[in-house]
Amino acid sequence: GIQVEQSPPDLILQEGANSTLRCNFSDSVNNLQWFHQNPWGQLINLFYIPSGTKQNGRLSATTVATERYSLLYISSSQTTDSGVYFCAVELDTDKLIFGTGTRLQVFP
C-alpha cells in the first residue's frame, strides 16, 4: 500500500522562528490535507491542497503532486502552534491515509 512519511519527526523551536515540514508519499493521490492536532487531541483542518500553493495567515502549503511531496511552512511560530502536524492523502476511495506526523514544540 501507499506509504506516507513526514519529516522531521520532532521539531523544537523558539517563538518567532520559521519552519518547514515535509510530507512524502509513495504513489499518486487524489487529494492531500494538512491537519494540526492540538494538545487536547482535536484535529484542526489547515489545508486541503491536492496541488499548488495556498496561504492562510502565517501558514502556507505547497503540494507538488508529480514529485509526490507536500510542504507546510510555519512563519513566526507561536506557542499555540505546538502540537502534532499530520498530512493525509486520499486515494480514489475517499479514505484518508495519514502520515507519520511531526511533533512541534514552540517555547517562549
Binding site: N31, G41, A88, D94, K95, F98, G99
Partner: protein, 112 residues
Amino acid sequence: SAVISQKPSRDICQRGTSLTIQCQVDSQVTMMFWYRQQPGQSLTLIATANQGSEATYESGFVIDKFPISRPNLTFSTLTVSNMSPEDSSIYLCSVEPRNEQFFGPGTRLTVL
C-alpha cells in the same frame, strides 16, 4: 465544513466490557469514517459506514470487535467490544461533505 460531536468525550473502562461511542454530524452525509489513534501514533482507519448497508472494515479490524451502526445520514455509533488495555486509544469519527474531511473531537478511551 461540518460540525461533528462525539459522546462520550472520554471514559475509563474495565477489561472485558464494551463501550459504544456516538457520532453526530450537523448535515446529511453519505459516508462516515471511524479512526483509531493509539498513544503516540498516527491515525488508522477502522471502517467506513454507509447508511443502509454494512460497514466496510479495513485490514486488521473485524465486525465482532468493532460493530458499527449507521441508522441515518447524520448519526453513527462504534462499539469497542470485549475491551483489553490494548484498546486504549482515541477514537475519532469523520465526514467528507465535499472533498475535505472534518473530524469530531474524539473519544479518549482508557481500559484498565
